[in-house]
């Protein structure tokens, strides 16, 4: 199958700042690919390159994304003093669509995102989650084969976020190629593929469960035994003595630890050490050398 969007060795600098460096990434029709990274990792630059609104300094994007991509920018603005429907109609005209097509496709999209009852409401009076759904409808109006969405769920609450991701999966099932950026690692779990972005480079890429499977550590959680509570300092000191320790991460009433894969789960007396399911955040920590950087190992 041919990728719907293919970034080949793409780099982009702004003056002396290298925002994106040597990125290879393909998105195929029918899949949702999530690009995850903290603020400043290069997500927005990469999204703009994939959408064809920014030219790379090196490498290329094929096929030419211009005219084929529905691009939802991180600071996408709707017109707050226009209604939901007027916003859609405005985008329809921008794309040069016939009124009849806007009417048909716009109605279908509003129904799909659940905004048909709010057709005549001012966009400025919508909640954050509803605004993002309207924005999605606007960029889908001209039926682009590729969707590039830059942090569409930032500031959107978990319920609305789950609904939004469901919409994106439906779009992919209909044959579109979908590239989404986010800083929430937990959002990548249900997608087809995830790429971890760090300081402008892709650290790793693959199915979320495959990436988690690559983690060369055993994850566990150390807590006080029984109903007891321990001061965080005590918990950390006990964790430091665990055989095979790679890193500690205090979390609430316990400490999450990464251990060597063959290390025994041997808690000191008075403590409980339970296996914990590895998550994408652990993979990210591993690949960015978290143990070395925070623990001085």
């Amino acid at each position: 199958m041919t990728p719907a969007i293919y970034l080949q060795g793409v780099s982009r600098s702004f003056g002396s700042v290298r925002a994106v460096e040597g990125v290879d990434l393909a998105v195929f029709p029918g899949e949702v690919v999530v690009l995850v990274g903290p603020d400043g990792a290069g997500k927005t630059t990469l999204a703009r390159l994939a959408a064809g609104v920014l030219a790379p300094t090196a490498g290329r994007v094929v096929p030419d994304p211009r005219g084929r991509v529905g691009y939802l920018a991180a600071r996408f603005s709707l017109y707050p003093d226009l209604t939901v429907w007027e916003n859609l109609a405005f985008f329809g005209r921008l794309y040069g669509m016939a009124t009849r097509d806007v009417e048909a496709e716009g109605t279908r999209l509003l129904e799909w995102v659940g905004l048909l009852p709010f057709r005549d409401r001012l966009a400025g009076a919508l909640s954050g989650g509803m605004r993002q759904k309207l924005a999605l409808a606007c960029v889908l109006l001209h039926r682009p084969p590729v969707l590039v969405l830059d942090e569409p769920t930032t500031g959107v609450d978990p319920v609305a976020r789950a609904e939004f991701w469901q919409l994106l999966r439906e779009e992919a099932r209909a044959g579109r190629a979908v590239l989404v950026t986010t800083s929430y690692l937990d959002e990548a779990v249900g997608c087809d593929r995830v790429a971890l972005l760090h300081r402008g480079r892709i650290l790793a890429e693959g199915k979320p469960e495959a990436l988690v499977g690559r983690l060369p550590y055993r994850m566990a959680r150390l807590t006080a035994a029984g109903d007891g509570r321990r001061a965080r300092g005590e918990l950390l000191a006990a964790a430091e003595k665990l055989p095979g320790l790679v890193w500690t991460q205090p979390q609430g009433t316990g400490v999450r630890v990464a251990l060597a894969p063959d290390a025994p789960l041997a808690p000191p007396s008075g403590y409980r050490l339970e296996p914990a399911a590895p998550v994408l955040e652990d993979v990210y920590l591993w690949l960015t050398g978290y143990g070395a950087e925070v623990m001085g190992r």
Binding site: G37, P38, D39, G40, A41, G114, L115, F118, L126, S127, G128, G129, M130, R131, Q132, K133, T154, G155, V156, D157, P158, V159, A160, R161, A162, S183, Y184, L185, D186, H198, T223, A231, R232, G233, Q249, P250, Q251, G252, T253, G254, V279, E281, Y284, L285, T288, Y290, E293, V294
Partner: protein
């Protein structure tokens, strides 16, 4: 027994026909990092405004740091700090000037202010950047400065709104180390967040839906009781759906 930093009984606030906070009974021990989760419009902001004495409850009662919400709001506010995700620093003032400004707002002056400012510059690792305008700091450092500004007056209760959303894992670890060090010295911290990974860092978490506090417990307790083997996101969605909550968009 550890004293309670927050104790409310059936705290309720209505706006006309709309009940924003509905019979919330909340007990938070001093030195706890408490997370408050809820969709937009669930009443998180209204609850915080009630706890700060900025809004009068329609019914119910409560004490914060031993002071009555209705009769002693000034005493409460003097002892509280607040950091919002879109924190308001002055971009064209330097790092040190921002600390001085907020110190003066909190009534610190002279040598006491200078001493506290230096202490926090060192604590936040911002000493070398004291003459840099706050507007030129990268996100992570700006966040640290905002945090330092929020704790200048040594608040006993600190409100943090999504304190580490979007921050890289290493910076997040360092940020939480600072939050925990305050909690270990007895500061009570109330974190509101949409970010379920962030909620895992809290000692206890309360879930607010349509103004009601529907569950509280440690993250592990909540996962066991409502998570069906999933994480806090599963807990949250199960509770939201269990209440027949179809939040169109998010309903703020």
């Amino acid at each position: 027994m550890t004293p309670l930093a927050i104790a409310t009984r059936d705290l309720t606030r209505r706006f006309g026909d709309f009940t924003a906070v509905d019979r919330v009974s909340l007990a938070v021990e001093a030195g706890t990092v408490m997370g408050l989760l809820g969709p937009n419009g669930a009443g998180k902001t209204t609850l915080i405004r009630l706890l700060l004495g900025l809004l009068t409850p329609t019914a119910g009662e409560g004490q914060v740091l031993g002071h009555d919400l209705v009769r002693e709001p000034e005493a409460i506010r003097r002892k509280c700090g607040y950091m919002s995700q879109r924190f308001s620093l002055y971009g064209d003032l330097t790092v040190a000037e921002n600390l001085t400004f907020f110190g003066q707002v909190y009534g610190l002056t002279g040598p006491a202010l200078a001493e506290r400012r230096e202490e926090l510059l060192a604590w936040a690792g911002l000493g070398d950047l004291r003459h840099t305008p706050a507007g030129q700091l990268p996100g992570g450092l700006r966040q640290r400065l905002a945090f330092a500004c929020a704790i200048l007056h040594r608040p006993a209760l600190l409100f943090l709104d999504e304190p580490t959303a979007g921050v890289d894992p290493v910076s997040r670890r360092r940020f939480w180390d600072r939050i925990y060090s305050l909690a270990d010295q007895g500061t009570t911290v109330l974190v509101t967040t949409h970010y379920l990974e962030e909620a895992e860092y809290c000692d206890r978490v309360g879930i607010l839906l349509s103004g009601r506090l529907v569950a509280t417990g440690t993250p592990a307790d909540l996962r066991r009781e409502y998570g069906e083997g999933g994480g806090l996101d599963r807990v949250f969605l199960n509770l939201a759906q269990g209440r027949g909550e179809r939040v169109p968009g998010s309903g703020e």
